[in-house]
Symmetry: C2
Subunit: 306 residues, 2 copies
């Protein structure tokens, strides 16, 4: 009912990073695609099969290095329901390999609808008295624009099933400031205000480590705000995108961590998935290249927060 | 590349309302569920089949009355990838019946990821040079918290394929004001500011009717703000939730319309889907009950805006 379970895995692997699984066909070696197309044609089904095989290879190569993976729902939805089936299979496979799974879906809605999203992604669905896991991730990213009504049903599941949510606070993109950096009439920025809401939403879910079940997404591309928010939100665990491909470096993510070197997990997606292209290695070694990059990233970040 | 296509359908049917397709097992008559379970068991697949048969009945009964349907993604995701397959089949079926389809998914992200969502829901996915529709809706609801980066790729598809988006501006839930009604340091509220962004994002997509391809979600439960936003955002077409089950009445939605009686489409989900329960009619007449409610709602709203 907090992020203790994730923090435990981070400690075991001495690695506060998460591998983003955002597979596009462009990122996948030809030999994997060819095999999938042979079975299912150049169709959504064929693409979805290629995605799954690619992910499986990555998970196998990364599962003793990283504590967590973060599949991004958009890349699966792009390949239709067949792609969404690959999302479900990927989550199942990653959990079997002992990984903590954060579904990055930035869901948001109210009432019965956010209840449905909660059940879908981190909870269970009732079918005539049987509880079934639809996707079964450990944590979900959400958007807090709708206020407490849009968060409460997620919290109920966090408490009941020891799951977590990450609320978008300060995103890593260039235009994030258009709304998020605007000052409200009390002098606080919008993102700081949403951060305060996270502290409040999480307050009765704080675990042994001092962090609640309500985390925040705070981008590595704004290191100053990252540090300010770290200080302002002592019980809010951070998911930090923007490292690597988006321009954030290890020094930029350091302010996300507290004086004990915990409090955040840093994501890299393209950096890890496309390491084989950057290395220009044999495509059949894509998973090993991903592993090398994950180790490099771990070492770089651990050095910066020690 | 504007909402002209939707407005045309509204005019043809003289009906500015949309039927929400948010199917939960609770809403579905037993006989439909029994048949589905007989084929596929009390499983996600069985549930998803029941959802599809329920939707098909509703679409058949409503397609000459309403111009549009609005499936809410959460209710499909709750039933796993099997449910998401039902979403795809529902959209396909509704389009075949001549309906405009708004996928209510409140998606949001940046860069390549929002591109992936755009392709998934209103655009096309490239598979080795072939363009395939993954879900193929006409419009998508989105959340603007991330700023212009999170909207631009959607706009490109709106322009290229004559699609639309609805950005969350003022939602219908009780706690929507926690963030959306806060005043920024220039005196404007957050929701008004996001509304202004919609006007700006849509400015080069304004159609014959005066409305752009960037609409706004503005709830019926705050009629005063609805009227203010209507005046402030003359090119922004409104999708209005909150009518019926959430407490909004026909008088509450009237301010959403301009002096020509256009500018908005009002949603009812539970009111229509569960009309058979309210009427207490024979469950096999659920679709006819939905039709009666859709006609009642149409007449009530048309009277109020005439």
């Amino acid at each position: 009912m907090s992020f203790d379970r994730l923090i435990q895995k981070i400690r075991e692997k001495n690695n506060p990073t998460v591998a983003g699984l955002d597979p596009k066909l462009d990122y996948i070696p030809e030999y994997i695609k060819e095999e999938a197309y042979k079975k299912y044609g150049k169709t959504l089904e064929g693409a979805a099969e290629a995605l799954f095989q690619f992910n499986k290879g990555l998970i196998n190569a990364l599962c003793d290095i990283v504590p967590a993976v973060k599949p991004q729902a958009a890349y699966y939805e792009m390949y239709g329901w067949q792609g969404v089936r690959t999302l479900a299979k990927t989550i199942e496979y990653a959990k079997k390999k002992g990984l903590y799974v954060i579904t990055d879906a930035k869901r948001n809605d109210i009432g019965a609808t956010i209840q449905a999203y909660s059940a879908a992604h981190i909870g269970k669905t009732d079918i005539e008295g049987e509880s079934v896991e639809a996707f079964g991730a450990d944590a979900l990213t959400v958007n807090g624009y709708l206020g407490t009504d849009g968060i409460r049903p997620l919290l109920d599941i966090c408490k009941a099933d020891d799951k977590g949510i990450f609320v978008l606070v300060k995103t890593s993109n260039p235009s994030s400031g258009e709304l998020q950096d605007r000052k409200l009439d009390d002098g606080l920025t919008v993102c700081h205000t949403v951060g305060d809401m996270c502290e409040n939403w999480g307050k009765d879910t704080v675990g042994r480590t001092g962090y609640s079940a309500v985390g925040a997404v705070v981008g590595a591309t704004y290191p100053e705000q990252l540090g300010e928010l770290r200080k302002a939100l002592p019980h809010t665990f951070f998911l930090v995108p923007g490292y690597g491909a988006q321009g954030g470096g290890a020094k930029d993510v350091a302010p996300a961590f507290d004086e004990n070197g915990i409090g955040a997990i840093v994501n890299s997606s393209r950096g890890i998935m496309c390491a084989w292209k950057k290395e220009d290695c044999d495509p059949t070694e894509y998973a090993q290249a991903a592993r090398r990059e994950a180790i490099r990233m771990r070492d770089e970040i651990v050095t910066c927060i020690d």
